[in-house]
Symmetry: none
Subunit: 253 residues, 2 copies
Amino acid sequence: MVLVSPRNPLNIGAVARAMANFGFKHLSVVDPYEPHWREARSAVGAPDLLEKAHQTLSLADAVRDCTLVLGTGTLTHRKPEQPVVRLDELAPFVARELDRGGRIAVVFGPEKHGLTREDLSHCQVLVEIPTDRQQPSMNLGQAAAVCLYELAIRQTPAIPISQGFDIESDSDSTVGESNIVMEPIPTSGNLETLASLVEQVMVAANYSPKIMQKANQHDLRLTLRRLRLRAHDVRRLLGLFRRILRRLQRDPS
Amino acid sequence: MVLVSPRNPLNIGAVARAMANFGFKHLSVVDPYEPHWREARSAVGAPDLLEKAHQTLSLADAVRDCTLVLGTGTLTHRKPEQPVVRLDELAPFVARELDRGGRIAVVFGPEKHGLTREDLSHCQVLVEIPTDRQQPSMNLGQAAAVCLYELAIRQTPAIPISQGFDIESDSDSTVGESNIVMEPIPTSGNLETLASLVEQVMVAANYSPKIMQKANQHDLRLTLRRLRLRAHDVRRLLGLFRRILRRLQRDPS
């Protein structure tokens, strides 16, 4: 779970509590407002995971090791650039990712305006909580609880009631700690490396006029996340583009 | 939704907000602590439904018109006397009740100790939110959000996704305002054009030894088909690789 620039210490505490309720352990906080962050961490009864939370300067750093990054938010003001999946339709994506040994991050934006377009460019999928049109915007702690509930029940599937016996749930295994390895998939960090190499090639090939570089960078990031590249695709592309770059740099023109 | 003797005005407000988020309108409050109840109702931005809430002296009064009364709580200390249903298993009960024109109440107890045995005797079913054993007890506002989410999605069933990330097609029919437009997909011919251009670049960059060319060609074709590129991705890649190729061919080495 990743919180980008959270403001309200009560909300940070509420998110941490929901994580503990549903058996999640890894919290990262990007660029928090320091006094409030300290306050949240030192609150009475704050769960352990808040003490152990990672603090990073950028969202890119926070999701570097993740293979599926889920952004959250309401869609009222923005036309999303990535696929949108309703929270209650998310199960197959999560299952597939965990089956192939991936690590999932769920990202929440600041209370006031949510994730920015730039933040969302690090996400493969935008998760929409199906709220009422009259009042679409949820409180951060409640939105986190609902998302974590949905993710948690996918890992301990319900036993049909007719059988009526008790299960020893293995709530120890949380999202993001699955270790079945199928096919290696690239992490966010791998994709960032590739994106920056492709950018260098674009510049070296004089493909992208200076004025377009920022926009291209954004598009490129979105595109690489949409393509579901595998780890070996990324390695090959890195190899090819490195070669191209070396060649281009030798070109005197 | 029925709250029995809630104490914390922030929690009352959070419950009301979650109700508004998920489109629920009828709140009853049993025997509230008056000053806090007044405070919650007069809070800035309190949803309408808080103003219109019913106040009763007993739980029996609050659920008088309901046909299915769902109690909530954790089961750590108590051996329940009624059937227990996990929240994520609740759907069939709810569907059946609504189909036959019933009215459902969801009842939450006071923050500190939850519903008493006496309270629970008014409930047909005890709903258990599947929380972690280490930290089973949820915040009232978050527990309400999770329950209301689960009830709400049963009324606007999700469209099954069976095809991976190809969700553009019928996302119109989801809750909210999805505005993703069907996007043209590249033809096999487009992909072949791209593949042969990439091959030329590989050769020009001396990336692929002669002996590997056949194998690379095959892999490249497979990869391009696997990536679910869109028509505009193909156009862009063509533009970029054409540029690279021209540059490489100028290179004297």
